[in-house]
């Protein structure tokens, strides 16, 4: 019998610890597929964050180093500058990239650090138990915005991709989602481009991925997928936000 | 013998380069030397000073409690250091800018009209090197020629500046 589907080489043979319906498992898998496709398993160095994906190194079969909360872009900068032949990617959540690590992210992008950021936006702090994130939507209830996020008290959801698009050193920014087979395919393409840009030395690339967190959203996985379409992607519109690479293979 | 000298004046008068030149020359003569600048906000527009210690043996403290020599380029520096200089020490005063009489009788005073002499030579900027020339003549800390040789290091071989500074050093040397 012909084998038509198998585990990517750069994904370890391990059982994910993620909740049912969580986007991390899907994003891990497609990232590993990209690493395989590009043949960079032996050059890749990943920088996972604190948070649910802190154990990413149990799954990615590439060199990995955990960073302190928010410091991924600085750590990746250090690795890439010390060892330019490597292909360095950060894997960061919304609290990490858009709150505590805003400065590191913005300035790495501004320097045009030749690295790839995979930015998981699930509008909530997952591992710590569902607190308000910088990307939490207005009206959304979390454990630290129990009355629903209100701009007057808790501020607005921050759009990091749009902000980073203003920064000259960032060459490619796209927002995708993993809530349907079509969107997952688009996400995989975007991740491929973000890695390719680095391999070709084009500068800072970021893929923001709207990712379901059924547990903290208190929804079923199916409802969570639907919610991304109906609500979340209205605040965070999907699509290409910036591309100065001139590669012309945008989909 | 350990000799400590303080150079003091307004920021911009070139007191740091006086100290640096002396330190460089002393090093070239094979002496132990430390150069300690007052730095940071202290030197933004206000008075600046530095301490140069020269010795034939290892220097313990680079800080001067009571320097043997003080070179003051302006009035505030004269006031600041007049009570710190050690008894029997020499106080070098830029008499072009310092008019107040000194209140101590146990130290020697050398008056150098450095600004006036520098203006005669074409630029008031050379006043510091005129003071340094005069200082070397009286203090005998290093040879004038070593000091001139040291200029090449501080001025990174800039021939025009070296010539101007050399003339000012020599003029100051002959002034006292």
């Amino acid at each position: 019998m012909k084998k038509i589907f198998s585990r990517p080489r750069s994904l370890k043979k391990a059982v994910f610890h993620y909740c049912p319906g969580c986007g991390h498992s899907i994003i891990h898998r497609i990232t590993c597929e990209v690493i395989d496709e590009l043949g960079i398993q032996d050059r890749a160095i990943g920088v996972p964050p604190p948070g649910c994906s802190v154990f990413a190194y149990y799954y990615f079969d590439v060199d990995m180093v955990e960073s302190a909360h928010g410091r991924g872009a600085a750590v990746a900068t250090g690795i890439k500058r010390a060892h330019p032949e490597s292909v360095v990617f950060t894997y960061q959540g919304d609290g990490d990239l858009a709150a505590i690590g805003t400065a590191e992210t913005l300035h790495a992008a501004n320097r045009g650090e030749n690295i790839t950021a995979i930015f998981i936006n699930n509008a909530v702090y997952g591992m710590t138990g569902g607190q308000m994130a910088p990307t939490t939507l207005l009206g959304m209830k979390t454990t630290t915005s129990p009355f629903g996020r209100e701009d007057k008290y808790e501020g607005h959801p921050i759009k990091m991709s749009e902000i980073l698009a203003q920064v000259n050193g960032a060459c490619y920014i796209e927002r995708t989602a993993v809530n349907s087979p079509a969107n997952i395919r688009k996400t995989q393409k975007a991740i491929t481009r973000a890695f390719r840009n680095q391999i070709e030395g084009l500068g800072y690339s970021l893929v923001e991925i709207l990712s379901p967190c059924p547990t903290n959203w208190k929804m079923s996985p199916v409802e969570a997928w639907q919610w991304i379409d109906d609500v979340m992607s209205k605040e965070f519109p999907l699509g290409l936000i910036k591309d100065t690479t001139g590669r012309g293979d945008a989909h | 013998m350990l000799i400590k000298t303080v150079f003091a004046g307004f920021g911009g008068q070139g007191v740091m380069s006086m100290g640096l030149n002396l330190a460089q020359a002393a090093m070239m003569e094979g002496r132990y030397v430390t150069y300690l600048p007052a730095y940071g906000a202290e030197v933004r527009g206000g008075t600046a000073n530095c301490t140069v210690s020269v010795s034939d043996e290892e220097i313990a403290s680079p800080v001067a409690s009571s320097p043997a020599f003080v070179v003051a380029l302006n009035q505030p520096s004269m006031i600041k250091f007049q009570n710190k200089i050690q008894s029997g020490g020499i106080f070098f005063l830029n008499s072009s800018l310092i008019k107040e009489p000194l209140l101590r009788g146990d130290i020697e005073i050398v008056q150098v009209p450095a600004n006036a002499a520098a203006e005669d030579m074409g630029s008031v900027k050379s006043a510091n090197m005129i003071m340094l020339g005069a200082f070397i003549k009286k203090s005998n800390l290093v040879n004038l020629q070593t000091l001139i040789d040291a200029l090449a290091v501080a001025l990174k071989g800039n021939k025009k500046l070296i010539a101007i500074n050399k003339n000012a050093l020599t003029a100051g040397y002959e002034l006292v």
């Binding site: 750590v75 010390a82 300035h107 | 300690l36 220097i59 313990a60 680079p62």
Partner: protein, 351 residues
């Protein structure tokens, strides 16, 4: 050469090719020297980072990739680096952090101070860890100990702190560099360079299993014990016949030495014990000295920090007086001489 420039040159000659920093007085000459020598050079990295936090995390990244890496700052900036230092210690990443300390707390003053002794020798960041702390007292020693710092960091896989101060950084003294810069250093074993021809590796600090973390801490602790046994070093100055021993480190030791010379000229039997490594503190050496000398005068440019280690080392076996000036005030040798003379007479040592 200024002390700051001497550190930078010595680091380059020790094979440091990656430097990340953020401006703060009084250590800017170090950053500027690195900018001039490491930026735009093949195989080298210099970044003026967006913060001290980023700078230390860039060191973390460069170190994990196997490079000799360094950052420098002064007191308030070192506070910001503590998070990163804790991670460096946890991941056992060799690295060198320079603190040309200034007066505190808060923004304090830019004048030289020694008020960061506790922060440097007690870890500073969160967690049960140590860093090696070297305390140079001259520009030559700044250069020598910078090289030593890189060697120790690699030998024990540990962050090493060079604790200087603003005065040491700004002052100039002749300095001799005994080594040429190597063209390239071998990549450290265990570095992450991509999993070529081997299994992938990861470097992490987090574990959900307390027993696992306990084992990590045990192994760190065993290494710290080894360092304490092997690396404690000190300078004894005129202590053979001393009735009174001044204990001081860094620039304060220089000032004390000046005072001691004057005290000797007055016929007082005074010497000095200067720890060169603040952690590990040379406790054994001080304890040994206390068999000959009973009276100690601890002198620091703070209100008494190292004195805790002096007392711990003496285990009640000596009489310890203290003199200190906080906030960035620089005591002069005559002032210290007055204190020495007073203590000498109070303790009846002139009889």
């Amino acid at each position: 050469m200024t002390g700051n420039a001497a550190i930078a040159e010595a680091a380059i000659r020790a094979g440091c090719r990656c430097y990340f920093g953020y401006p703060i007085t009084p250590q800017n000459e170090l950053t500027e020297y690195m900018a001039a020598h490491l930026s735009r050079r093949e195989g080298c990295a210099f970044i003026q980072a967006e913060s001290e936090i980023s700078a230390v995390n860039m060191v973390y990244g460069a170190s994990v990739a196997g490079a000799r890496a360094m950052t420098s700052s002064s007191s308030p900036g070192i506070s910001l680096k503590q998070e990163g230092i804790s991670y460096l210690a946890a991941c056992q990443l060799p690295s060198v952090i320079v603190n040309m300390s200034r007066g505190g707390p808060g923004l304090g003053s830019i004048s030289a101070s020694q008020s960061d002794y506790f922060q440097s020798t007690r870890g500073g960041g969160h967690g049960d860890y140590r860093t090696i702390v070297l305390a140079p007292a001259s520009v030559q020693e700044l250069a020598d100990l910078t090289r030593r710092a890189f060697e120790l960091a690699d030998k024990y896989l540990i962050p090493v702190i060079i604790l200087g101060d603003g005065m040491l950084g700004q002052m100039m003294e002749p300095v001799e560099f005994k080594h040429e810069a190597p063209s390239a250093l071998p990549v450290r074993a265990g570095a992450l360079r991509g999993a070529k021809g081997r299994h992938s590796r990861f470097v992490r600090t987090f574990t959900s299993n307390p027993a696992e973390l306990e084992e990590v801490n045990w192994s760190l602790f065993r290494r710290y014990q080894l360092i304490q046994k092997q690396e404690a070093s000190c300078e004894n100055y005129l202590t053979e016949d001393a009735a009174l021993v001044v204990t001081a480190f860094g620039i304060a030791a220089r000032i004390a030495k000046g005072a001691i010379k004057q005290a000797r000229a007055l016929g007082l039997r005074v010497g000095m014990f200067r720890p060169v490594t603040l952690w590990p503190f040379p406790s054994e050496q001080l304890k040994e000295l206390s068999k000959r000398a009973k009276y100690f005068l601890d002198f620091e440019m703070n209100m008494g920090q190292m004195i805790d280690d002096v007392r711990l080392a003496l285990e009640g076996g000596g009489d310890v007086s203290f003199y200190g000036r906080p906030g960035g005030v620089i005591p002069n040798p005559t002032e210290v001489l007055r204190v020495i003379t007073r203590v000498y007479h109070q303790k009846g040592l002139n009889q």
